[in-house]
């Protein structure tokens, strides 16, 4: 039994904690089906690891997260991704000073291919309001978190809608491990 079931329902904007620290949230985006489960499974695993200091949430579509974002928060987003390389990537999302538009800065060790399509992150979402659009809207509304990190997990086609591809399962483990290490050591 999950000792700390992650919330999947909207629960209002994240708030600063009483101790004055910035609230930290990890939000998995996805569904209960095939490799699209990846974001949700990361949330479940972090809950099982007892990350009670974090607000763990699940979102079905990128739209869901906009109410949860505020400038005083630290947010890690986890989303499944069609990536040409079978890997987990970490991006720092920020507004580029020069252009005023959102940019995603990859970790150096991620050796991002030059043609990697950041703009395609969850662009196949319902009615084309992609994660990038949602974050752009949050930025326009002044709601972009103080620190926003996007984790992407490369997924594969699965033969059954109720099953996770074994290779994706291994990448979920890697993503959980990296998030846990980063947040616990922060």
């Amino acid at each position: 039994m999950n000792p700390n079931p992650a919330r999947s329902m909207p629960a209002g904007a994240l708030q600063e904690t009483s101790s004055g620290h910035h609230a930290v949230a990890v939000i998995g985006i996805g569904s209960a089906f095939d490799d699209d489960q990846a974001g949700w499974l990361v949330i479940d695993r972090l809950a099982q690891l007892g990350m009670h200091e974090c607000d763990l949430r699940k979102a079905s579509v990128p739209h869901d997260i906009i109410d949860w974002l505020s400038p005083s928060t630290v947010v890690h987003l986890v989303d499944a991704c069609q990536d040409p390389q079978p890997t987990v990537r970490r991006f720092q999302i920020a507004i580029a000073t020069a252009t005023g538009s959102l940019e995603a800065i990859a970790e150096p060790q991620d050796s991002l291919p030059s043609n990697w399509p950041f703009t395609q992150v969850r662009s196949n979402s319902t009615h084309q309001f992609s994660l990038l659009d949602t974050l752009g809207l949050a930025a326009a509304l002044g709601q972009l978190p103080l620190n926003l990190v996007l984790w992407t997990i490369a997924i594969q086609d699965s033969p059954r809608t109720d099953m996770l591809h074994p290779a994706t399962a291994a990448r979920i483990d890697l993503c959980v491990s990296r998030i846990f290490k980063e947040l616990r050591h922060a």
Binding site: M9, P10, S60, V61, H63, I66, D67, T126, H127, Q128, F129, D133, G136, L137, A139, A140, L141, G142
Partner: protein
């Protein structure tokens, strides 16, 4: 042999519409000779997918046709199947279905207005640009959408592709305290919706009028959602079962979507919120009715750009109606009417946020779907949109290709087309010869 110059204008993909489609226009000299709305999303074969499956799977399968208006598919399916099976639902089930539909109208209209359509009225490329200039208004729109989603969750178990809708009723009806606890939020949403309506009424609308045949449901006692006769501004008045006698879906070479036309002349027609209000204005809830009178619109209105006015009024209506329904609700027992499978046929029409939707099913004696026909609203509006563009284009051909494309997209967006639903949809290609 013509010496007139040729001109080609292309819009590779229509934006801020739901789904993927293209528009190809041929101009010879100053004459528009062809307008083709090409839907290139692959066919999805939902009707064939249903064949041979247990009929109780139908509401869940048809809901997957659309992430924005799944309730429309569920409602139309369950009513059509209940007709085939001879099921008579209780007033409480009927009330809950209407309440569920209110949630979908609020959510769908909220998304379309604030994220897809309103940017056109301020020359913004998208909702992100709009949000930089109008953060308060966009935030308000997102609140409205969220309330629609919450209502869907309360009744349907989740906002996208609800899971509580069943043939015969609900797998789990909401409890009265759950709905009452949400009532105050709906009242706040109503106030937001009224403010949106007043904002929208002040927009500047292009002058564009055509002699449309507008088609919608009409019910003698209530603003139509889940039931009624199919009526039009040209005196059509039929039951849903008579739909095939008066309407026909046709394949066109340039599109993967079927186009539905009026018989016998294969003429275009117009469905959606503007048609609904034109044919049912007297049945709006009190505040929505008063707003319709204050909307700077002469009803009936035949300007498609003012569809957003109708949409804003309907959001107000949906909030008012949801509050009324919650006040009337005393619980639902039984939540679901039992039935015995039988061979039969049923046809039904309801009002999806973007217009009339029609389903027909044949069932087998062992409870399977033998045949399914699904006619979504966008299939019905496609031909009308092509005709509108044919009228619009001559007046804007002096503009640059980019400007022409934007003007065409703006007109198309007025219809709130859902290409994914109709796959039955946009790139613009204009060929000037």
């Amino acid at each position: 042999m013509s010496t007139q110059p040729t001109r080609t204008i292309q819009v590779a993909a229509l934006t801020r519409v739901e789904g993927e489609g293209a528009l190809r226009v041929v101009v010879e000299g100053q004459q528009v000779t062809s307008v083709q709305l090409a839907i290139y999303e692959p066919p999805r074969f939902f009707e064939a997918l249903l064949r041979g499956r247990p009929l109780e799977n139908t509401p869940d399968i048809t809901a997957r046709i659309c992430g924005i208006c799944p309730v429309a598919y569920q409602m139309t399916a369950v009513h059509a199947l209940e007709q085939a099976l001879g099921i008579h639902i209780t007033p409480e089930i009927r009330l809950l279905r209407r309440l569920l539909y209110c949630g979908e109208w609020i959510e769908s209209h909220g998304v379309h207005m604030h994220l897809l359509h309103i940017p056109d009225f301020f020359g913004c490329a998208n909702s992100i640009e709009l949000a930089r200039s109008y953060p308060t208004e966009v935030t308000r729109g997102l609140r409205i959408k969220k309330l629609g989603n919450r209502l869907l969750e309360l009744l349907g178990g989740r906002a996208v592709h609800p899971i509580s809708v069943a043939v015969g009723g609900f797998y789990r009806p909401p409890r009265k305290p759950e709905l009452l606890a949400f009532r105050e939020e709906l009242k706040a949403g109503l106030a937001d919706a009224i403010a949106v309506a007043h904002w929208v009424f002040g927009f500047t609308f292009p002058e564009f009028h055509r002699d449309y045949e507008m088609v919608a449901l009409h019910h003698p006692d209530e603003y139509p959602m889940n039931e009624g006769r199919i009526v039009s501004t040209r005196h059509l008045d039929i039951s849903a079962s008579e739909f095939p006698l008066h309407f026909e879906e046709r394949q066109v070479p340039h599109s993967t979507a079927l186009q539905c036309v009026r018989l016998p002349e294969a003429t275009e027609y117009f469905v959606g919120p503007l048609a609904r209000i034109n044919l049912n204005r007297e049945l709006l809830s009190p505040i929505a009715r008063q707003l319709a009178d204050e909307a700077f619109v002469s009803w009936p209105c035949f300007n498609p750009y003012r569809s957003i006015v109708a949409r804003a009024i309907e959001v107000v209506f949906a909030f008012e109606e949801a509050i009324r329904l919650i006040d009337s609700y005393d619980g639902c027992s039984p939540a679901r009417i039992d039935y015995t499978p039988r061979a039969g046929e049923g046809a039904w029409a309801t009002e999806a946020p973007r217009g009339l939707i029609y389903h027909r099913y044949q069932t087998t004696d062992d409870g399977k779907i033998a045949h399914a026909t699904i006619v979504p609203p966008t299939s019905q509006n496609q031909r009308q949109i092509e005709q509108d563009l044919t009228q619009l284009l001559p007046s804007i051909l002096h503009q640059s290709d980019t400007e022409v494309a934007l003007a065409c997209e703006r007109l198309i967006r007025s219809y709130d087309p859902c290409i994914s639903c109709s796959t039955h949809f946009l790139r613009l290609e204009i060929e000037r010869r």
